[in-house]
Symmetry: D3
Subunit: 326 residues, 6 copies
């Protein structure tokens, strides 16, 4: 019988021999006797489980640090209603495999390659050669694409997982395509280029080795200015890029959070900027709501009302289930 | 040679014999002699022109009131760079034709029948029988449809013209269809029903005989509560409509302006309500921007910057023209 | 010697044989040995006390649920400075009496019948027959009166207890009577009808079997719209109710929370609506302050300053006692 | 036949010989010939009328200044639908009578002596000797009473007329009496003393010789601090005034505008202060609304909606008349 | 007798032969006869005067455009209490001199060379070689210095005149020097470099040929991002510039308007950034107040209170003169 | 070998015989046996340490209260990584010395006498005799000086330590001196007098026997009004003090927190008031930031980012150390 490989497949009684990301590590004093045991938080992209090693705690603890990928052999137990993974000192070894961080951190449930293909397809449909070139100067850059496919769009808020950036980007782009259909007076290529590039600064804002963290540059300059800088650099490399078009595209990046409360240094100053700004807000707010709603639903309360959510500043309605199930 | 029929086709020297909406009427004293002349503002759905009758002013003035449709014969002149229509006392008669107010007030530039067809098509695609029935209880109601096709969505702000409501409704619906594609976890039928019905209360808020006005009921109860009442009444007429589904649909109407600054009595309390709220905001804000931008562009200033717009609270960028023209 | 009947009469050493509302129920592990004891929170309308049963905990626990009224025989003990009620497994039985929930939940300290009589008296003094009839269509409705006399006015904030709604209603009405004396230009009957009916939607917002909870309808539609619906339904049943009067009365209900921050869908649009809005605010804010002040005073701190109150967003002044006592 | 004495009694054709307050004075050039005529704005406590003197304009103009009370003999004419008073150079003389400014500026329509009697009666009912003494140290001070009976409560906003302060004070006091009936836990004497004294600083804020103006002291220190200073001075003169009671009373003055937006240096820190704060707000907001509503009604528009009011930030509802008239 | 050279020296009766900036130009119809006269607004750095040419208006008007510097010979007259300059068609010729725009637009009353010297002196006192080099990369750049000495700091608000930028920069720098004395824990060189460079983006935001205008780049990207870009470019040219120091300096530029209401894309994230932010605010707000105060004082009203100032949102106090004069 | 005298000099193993302020006192139950031990928090102006007495806990506890200065003999031990001071029942005696509270509470790190000397020097440089006299009426008052040198400027926020008021005052004064240099149009003496006196009300707001507390007067009237009262009283004692100058100085006190959010009863109404307002804000905000930054740095985290600070409402940047160290 094959052993379970992923955290959310584990059940009490399983024996396990698989790799995990070490997320936390702590030596804990026994309450009943002298000495320490080792407690670790082990995760993959499906969730996390507490692991415990009762013996040689200090020695075992010296073998790895949070952020390492370790192969653990052990047994799953139930303790006070929650699962834990008990392992022996010998059951721990450093994984020799190369691995993809996306296998060990929470990640988008969408297919990243599909999202990218959607973006490329839209970019290929552009008619303005300059905008098309600046967009493809990113989409044809393998280093950029590597980051773009993995980067989260946040540390704490909406889309705060591997692939969050590209998921959000494709959503905003799709909304903007609908907008262009409704408002033919808008410059379609400009709005779509803005949608594709609006958050690319986030590839430089987050690092994610064993959790999502903000880089020094990311915190001190933020994604709006970093994205502006990345786009401007590419524009400089394109001969004859029209001046006004360049200013308009850069303005789309700078204004997409709206002036004031949300941190843009300029208000949207033409209609495509206004459109991008609200498309970004729609997707951000909706995803935020859905993430919080799923988190509350996962608690399995027997109540139609959620607990109070600070992030949404409200109790919200869980109801009796999906309405179409009735 | 055929005479011009519409205000925006008039040129100095034209003779005119056509019907106009009387928008304003005023007796003015001559500065150079005793007595009065008659000044009227004459409009149709392409714009308005000042008309003047130099003789028998009081007698002519007694023939009609603002809001009447009158057939005017006269001559177009240029005065201080603006056109005016000079007519004789004999050149005025009450129009005997029946007419459509949409021919005399500013109206959407979109095809209203097409917009309605889009909405019907989406409604036909609904799978939930209850939601489908409540939507069609409106779409199959000829009195409702008559209002729905003509009503503006505002008096002063975005979509403040004949057909504004249906244009806005179709846009919000289209955005929600895109959202449903991006977020399959949402209840598609619920969100689309909400999108189609969210602003129907506006059919009772505005009257528009010769300009857009707010009804007593519209001002005192407002479109959110009026729309809620209309939908609730239809739901009552549908046997076995599930209670939770009814509450959810009514909540979508009530919460679509968000609690607080914009006047909803409740915050959005589940994801479909959040989605509708931001889709409505996107279309409203974007249309508002575009209407103001067109108004400023029409001034024909030789400047890349607009005049200050109180409605947008900014100077905005007119630029050198559509970027793709360059 | 008669035994104490109410929680706030209990003293260490009392034997008890009376009915309580079970507010919470939990099996707790012994720290000193294997197994469980039963801990319950028992309440009536004077307060609550922790009860403990050391034996057959699981069996006893199966006899009742939170929300049940149980007859408990036991002994009051002092433990770490707080009272607790110790009972045997045999000392628990389901109460056979019918009971009034107002005897088991926190309730107004005012006489509810007196409050109602005050409201009826004011209603009887109305001269406008239509307003009088709509008010009495509620006051003569025994189901409504039953709810109206019990309903709280909130779950967490001011007047959050049995009878809170009628207490608040009578206060707002009394303030409006004073206002009518000061401002004879106001329509007295309209303002008083608005005062009496402004919060009746709350009878449908709260349920209170063993604690105050928000109904699905109450949360999703809220009391303003629910109250509007209730009043409109009654108006429809009154032949010849003048249209403008109807709109004005409904507007009073809808606008009484002011537009914006507090959730009305419309701003007050005539003076009686403004008056009701501020009378409601006065009573709400003052009661909120007094409830918090009493809560802080009950702590018995030896300090002139209260602890920081999040609800009032301030430290406030307790002083050295009632100033007139000095 | 007796001549009309008051501005609002004047009709075209009247001859006039009465005293007016000169509110404005201007020499205007004739458009049809060389030279000047004199235009003045003449007022009393019922309104104002434009006066014109066609001859010896400069000479006549030198006889008086705005703020003077002049006896004018002349004839009332109608010009472009408005009345004006035509007078000869000989028809102007300085009034020899002593006069009361309240006869020449807009004033409360209530009986000031009655308002004062109400306040005195309430003060006499106080039981706390210290609070009673501090209140009567004002009410028995003839200079204070003289100011208190005349002072307006504002220059532009609510109660901006002679007697406005005492009218507002009596209203707030009446509201507080109702509050004390509803909330017996409040210190009645403290709240009533606070209500009577809360705005007395306004006697030093406004001067009103021929219009309401702000004094230097009034503008730079404002009525809250000036009132605080006045009350503190009186308290110092009362032997044995309890320290805490003194602090509480002074705090009522200082906090009655609420901290923050409305300018109090401290938040209300006990319940009586909260009560006063909201009673003051109720009367201020309601009077503001009523004054604006009367102003709009006086325009005599044939529309159920008012013009947009900047002061109320809304269009409001005029309706078809007082609802009880129907 | 030498003729006056500057606008604020002109008196009625003067003959004039000097150069002016043409600020406005308009052909006006005579009211008394057929034809046009020419009206121009003529200015220099001391003020402006209306000029009129009664003959050959169209011909003369064709000789120049607003923004040109013209030599005008004419006579100063008084008309309705204001001065005007009457000139003949022959009295107008294009100025052959080269000129400095600072002689024709409102300019700082401070000595620009002194301000620059102060900045250079402070920069010379820096100990950190990297910061010193980046500052001097600007101060040694003659093109930059040319702009830096002339640029205004605003179009409408504080320091909206030639030299406004350097005046404001020196003030903020001086405040920061004081701050460094008070808070030795701050990094002096970092704060001073930030103070000197914080607004340099404004050299690219404004153009000022005959009035102050916003460039396309200035409006669409704004001075914060433009300044960031300028500093980053210079840093790239300095070998070995420490990474953290670079981030800190760039952060000072980006955060100096504070996040939110005032338009910075990031909040100040270390103490030097906080210091710069508030030093900038102090100087901006104070200068704004002083400019408005001078504008109101110049009206010469006989009142201690100013007219209402929208920019300051208050009436303010003019008083009886400088207090030390008394 | 000399024993350590101050908390921040203590190391494990030290024997101690010195005086401490008792900050907290609590009897704690032993977990391992019956009975209590005594736990106290002992502090001086360098920090605090937990002290424990294992025997005769209740007897020892009866010897002193929080706020007392006690001489403690004991031994410093390390427990779970933190130091604690173990003492015998005999090792506690009441200190017979007189002491200065500034030796036992956190205090400014600046030299208070130097700060005072700076203030006196500035005051001596004033030219306006009236302002100079009012300032020296405080600076020559030994009771005032005693309070002024010790008072904190806050309980929780910036400068919340002994000497905080004078430190803040000198900083604001220094900033104002710089401002006067930059803006010679300001009345130097008025602004400096305002700077020196603006917060003197705080001497009556805080009491600090063993911690900083707010007095009744301080909480109910607050420092702005208390400072106003103190200054006005001194002005009354100065013969011939000009009225306008008096109003201006009092206005500086009253307006220095700006109207609205921060609690001034009046907005700054002339330029010196605006200057003081922003100088006060600059020093307050900067000190707040620096105090929080030091608190976070003291945690010794190995991260460039601080923990989230509620007081600053942000994560901020700790970086890799002082930039000039690199």
């Amino acid at each position: 019988m094959s052993e379970p490989k992923k955290v959310n497949d584990l059940r009490a009684g399983n024996t396990v021999d698989t790799t995990f990301l070490v997320m936390e590590k702590e030596l804990k004093e026994f309450t009943s006797k002298e000495g320490y045991y080792l407690q670790v938080k082990l995760g993959d992209n499906t969730g996390s489980i507490w692991g415990k090693c009762w013996e040689k705690a200090e020695e075992v603890a010296s073998l790895f640090e949070p952020g390492d990928i370790m192969r653990i052999k052990g047994v799953v137990e139930s303790f006070r209603g929650r699962l834990q993974l008990i392992f022996e000192p010998e059951g721990v070894e450093r994984s020799a495999e190369t691995y993809d961080i996306a296998d060990y951190l929470p990640a988008t449930s969408k297919n990243i390659d599909f999202l990218l293909a959607e973006i490329v397809k839209t970019a290929e449909g552009m008619e303005n050669e300059y905008l098309k070139r600046v967009v493809f100067s990113f989409l044809h850059d393998p280093d950029f694409i590597n980051s773009f496919k993995k980067a989260p769009a946040a540390k704490i808020h909406h889309h705060n997982y591997i692939g969050g950036l590209i998921e959000h980007t494709q959503s905003v782009m799709a909304l903007c395509e609908t907008i262009c259909g409704l408002y033919p007076e808008l410059d379609r290529d400009l709005l779509l280029a803005g949608a594709i590039l609006h958050d690319i600064g986030k590839t430089a804002v987050y690092e994610y080795t064993f959790r999502i963290d903000v880089t020094e540059e990311g915190g001190l300059l933020d994604h709006i200015v970093l994205g502006y800088r990345m786009v401007e650099e590419k524009i400089k490399g394109i001969n004859g890029f029209p001046e006004e078009l360049s200013l308009r595209l850069l303005h789309l990046i700078l204004s997409h959070h709206n002036y004031g409360e949300w941190g843009s240094p300029v208000k949207p100053l033409f209609a495509e900027a206004e459109a991008l700004c609200y498309a970004d807000m729609l997707d951000s707010q909706l995803k935020e709501f859905i993430q919080v709603q799923k988190y509350e639903e996962a608690k399995g309360k027997e109540d139609v009302w959620s607990d109070f959510s600070r992030r949404l500043d409200r109790f919200f309605y869980l109801g009796g289930g999906k309405t179409h199930d009735k």
